[in-house]
Symmetry: C2
Subunit: 299 residues, 2 copies
């Protein structure tokens, strides 16, 4: 099955101890798509401005991403400028320029309204909700958000949580929205808000998945050189949803494998700036590391 | 095989969001022994003052710990007073009273000098070194330390690292001593200092083991209520060394299993104050959680 992802397409300027990149192609939907296309067809729903470089359109098309719903409109493309220091765990946002994102209303084709696998990457929850309600018969819906929306649109977010199958959050977001410090308690609390499945991404510390039938946890795949973690969470979500959509069977085993694949693909993402590593990945590369990963945690 | 552990026996006063305990039995050697006795005989080498409560001697004896080398001398027992807040990840030391520990010189019996499995829990590296050199033919030696010694006795510690088989450190210690931020790089660097095996304990985030033949990593066993993490690292080391000494075969599989057991026993430790949980553990409790743990990470 194909996946429809709603999110951002951005121009990222990033500085880390390993260098700097100016106006790279980035954004939540882009990173998601790069991982998910390893497994299945991806429809990207986002907006860019009239300053968006043509080579990036070509790049996405060449990677097999369907960008018929990546709309271009008058104005500036969404830009993010950030820096990572020390352990590269926390991004310091230096500047966010919303540009055309501030008046974004997603538009999709009739055909895309029949999508079964949907991922609502981080944008305004009202926009996420709008998109979800024009989908005819969603089968498996994933949701990501961020602390800004948790604080400023909590009500919209809580309403949305009742309509999705899985909520994907990082540690800080899971703690803020649930009010629980302990991550297992936070995951339980979040699942009671509506989405039965909860995935807490812990960056270099791995992941915790919770649903009422089972708990799953993995350490991150150990990476010796983290160059730029930007987009790792979206890459993770793309790997997870991509594998599930490909199998098109939401079983416990497939969920576990999808999470392991997600960790593996995210581990490639952090090894290069932006999409440098993930855009060159083949499924063979991924499967090799997947097998290695299985060995690493085996006891 | 039995294990000889050198370390501290302390009176701990601990406050966490879940309550307060005054002058509980604690210390690195005590927590270590409580875990290791689940698997094998433990000889405890430490010092206490003449104020050390008789009930604690009785308690240790009853738990099967050989305390013939737990010497009592004139002066006050080592005391630690600390507090944990928020996520309980970091201890705030309010007071450390070394007492008799400040003039500790370990003494062991002739029979104990034949010990094959040795764990040098956190004390002055010169004391650790002194003990190690009176052991006739050590077979497998583990070493723990702390940031204080890394800063104040770096030379002694580096010398000692060449004489042990495994160095057990937490994240901060691994980073400080190696000068590497990335934990995989830190582990590699540490292993080049002498001890071929390196174990980095990451608290609620699990563990990373490194040796030149393989890498092993696990998330922590997910615990919903962390009551008091004091001694979790020593409990972890005790579980690890205890299992290895019991099998008496340093194979890759045994190392992996020893680490998994260590995680499991440490997960019990944090569920109660001090030794409340670990002192009541049976191997059956441990094996149940071990099987559960294996399921949690399975993909």
């Amino acid at each position: 099955m194909s996946i429809l992802v709603l999110g951002t397409v951005a121009l990222d300027t990033v500085k880390t101890p390993f260098g700097k990149r100016i106006e790279m192609l980035g954004g939540s939907a882009t990173h998601f798509a790069m991982a998910a296309t390893l497994f299945t067809k991806v429809d990207l729903v986002a907006v860019v401005g009239d300053d968006f470089p043509k080579i990036y359109f070509d790049f996405l098309r060449k990677k097999g991403v369907n960008i018929t719903s990546l709309h271009q409109q008058g104005g500036r493309t969404f830009r993010w400028r950030g820096e990572y220091k020390g352990d590269l765990n926390t991004a310091l946002t230096l500047e966010t320029e919303l540009g055309v994102l501030s008046f974004f209303r997603p538009k999709i084709s009739e055909c895309q309204k029949n999508s079964r696998y949907i991922f609502l990457a981080n944008v305004d929850p009202d926009i996420q909700h709008y998109l979800l309600q024009i989908i005819h018969c969603p089968y498996f819906v994933g949701l990501d958000s961020m602390n800004y929306w948790i604080h400023h649109k909590r009500k919209s977010l809580l309403k949305l949580l009742k309509k999705v199958n899985i909520f994907v959050a990082n540690e800080a977001e899971a703690r803020t929205i649930s009010g629980e410090y302990n991550l297992l308690k936070a995951a339980k609390a979040l699942s009671s808000f509506g989405s039965k499945m909860v995935m807490i991404k812990k960056g270099e510390h791995g992941v915790l998945f919770y649903c009422d039938r089972f708990i799953f946890s993995l350490p991150a795949y150990p990476v010796a050189k983290i160059v730029d973690p930007t987009g790792a969470g979206d890459t993770f979500a793309g790997g997870f949803m991509g594998y599930l959509a490909k199998t098109n069977k939401i079983t416990e085993l497939n969920i576990r494998r999808a999470i392991a694949y997600a960790c593996v693909i995210a581990s490639f993402n952090v090894e290069g700036f932006g999409l440098e590593k993930t855009s060159k990945l083949t499924l063979a590369n991924v499967n090799n590391r997947f097998r290695e990963y299985k060995k690493i945690i085996n006891f």
